[in-house]
């Protein structure tokens, strides 16, 4: 199932941080992982990913290092920082509150508003 792009943009940062929370990755790997984990629902474009990665690096949520792959190409790996983990936690909570609210409305019940 393809998902409306506008739904994705706000949560992309959170998804990236989550991926990197598990293991260090390079850009292409992140797109592949995201696609697999979401059953092809999240088709993150490289054109969106790299500017975002670079911005997150500048905001000190990620750091990067270079590693030479078997085919002699140098790959840029990203890893999450302490600050990044903190942000991830906050974003997750935000997301939970948001989805609970949306579910509350969609379900027709008002229990979401405590």
């Amino acid at each position: 199932m393809a998902i409306d792009k506008s739904l994705l943009t706000g949560s992309t940062t959170m998804l990236i941080l989550k991926l990197l929370d598990e293991t260090n990755m390079y850009g292409y790997q992140m797109i592949e992982e995201l696609r697999k984990k979401s059953n092809n629902a999240f088709e993150l474009k490289a054109g969106t990913l790299y500017p975002l990665l670079h911005t997150l690096e500048q905001k000190n949520m990620l750091t990067s290092y270079e590693e030479t792959a078997d085919n002699a190409r140098v790959r840029k790996y990203y890893s999450i920082t302490k600050n990044g983990r903190k942000q991830l936690k906050e974003k997750k909570e935000e997301w939970k509150a948001y989805t609970a609210a949306v579910n509350g409305v969609l379900g027709g019940a008002s229990f979401a508003t405590a």
């Binding site: 790299y50 500017p51 840029k76």
Partner: protein
């Protein structure tokens, strides 16, 4: 060698959008690796070399958009800060700096190549300020309006020079600077030239009233003290000056933005 050149072409298009030269190579290297990874994946899915390359490039998205986003992610903050500090020093400096420079380079008076130039020191100082502001605009301002800012700054600094030659209009220039800045801030927030122009026209109207009010005050004072109202010859001059320095920069800026964007009148909704 058709295939590598397609990737090179794409990378070149991206490169042109990234203004900070220093980050171009590492960023492009990363993008290139990504395209190759993607291409290899398509090849192992059964596509041939050419199809795989085309599809991998298509996956990346419009190179201009990608480049612009990367450009935004890589503003040279440190360099910019340095230039910002220089700018402040430049503005805090005075025309004396210009005259000192003249003395140092051995041109002690205001005659250059046999031509008398009034306020040469101020002129040199203002040219310096112009260079600094232009660099700042080129680094920080959004691409589509940086040229407009540079033009307008040139215009305003010319106006300041003229006002140094004739000191009466100096106070107006401060207001012009405020005016231009507010135009840009409003444009940044609203992405609408129209709103910027509305603010400009409104502040012009404010200045207009100020000039008229000051003049009336002046006449009343003259009348009270001297028994005569004094001359009226300054009024058209003052009005012409505020008209030119308040409206022309903004109109120039608006024209530049309009010429860059096909439909600039749309307002971004929040």
């Amino acid at each position: 060698m058709q295939q590598p050149s397609k990737i090179t072409e794409y990378l070149e298009a991206v490169r042109q959008q990234i203004r900070w030269k220093k980050v171009q190579s590492p960023v492009l290297e990363e993008i290139k690796n990504h395209i190759i990874d993607q291409k290899d994946a398509f090849i192992s899915d059964g596509l041939n070399e050419e199809e795989a390359t085309d599809k991998a490039i298509a996956e990346m998205g419009d190179p201009i958009v990608v480049g612009e986003q990367l450009d935004r992610a890589h503003r040279p903050r440190l360099i910019g800060m340095g230039i910002g500090i220089l700018l402040v020093i430049g503005i805090l400096g005075t025309a004396d700096m210009g005259y000192n420079l003249l003395r140092i380079i051995g041109v002690g008076n205001q005659i250059v190549l046999g031509i008398y130039i009034p306020m040469l020191g101020e002129l040199i100082y203002l040219v310096g300020v112009f260079v600094i502001i232009s660099s700042l605009a080129a680094i920080f301002a959004p691409r589509n309006i940086s040229k407009a800012i540079i033009w307008c700054q040139g215009f305003i600094l010319t106006a300041i020079y003229l006002s140094e030659v004739s000191p009466r209009i100096r106070f107006v220039l401060l207001l012009v600077a405020v005016n231009v800045i507010s135009f840009l801030v409003l444009y940044q927030i609203s992405k609408s030239v129209k709103i910027g122009l509305v603010s400009t026209v409104t502040s012009f109207a404010g200045l207009f009233l100020l000039v008229v009010g000051t003049q009336i005050n002046c006449y009343m004072y003259n009348h009270g003290v001297n028994g005569s109202y004094g001359g009226f010859e300054n009024v058209p001059k003052a009005l012409a000056i505020i008209f030119i320095v308040c409206l022309v920069p903004q109109l120039l800026m608006a024209a530049f933005i309009w010429s860059k964007n096909p439909s600039p009148l749309h307002t971004k909704e929040f």
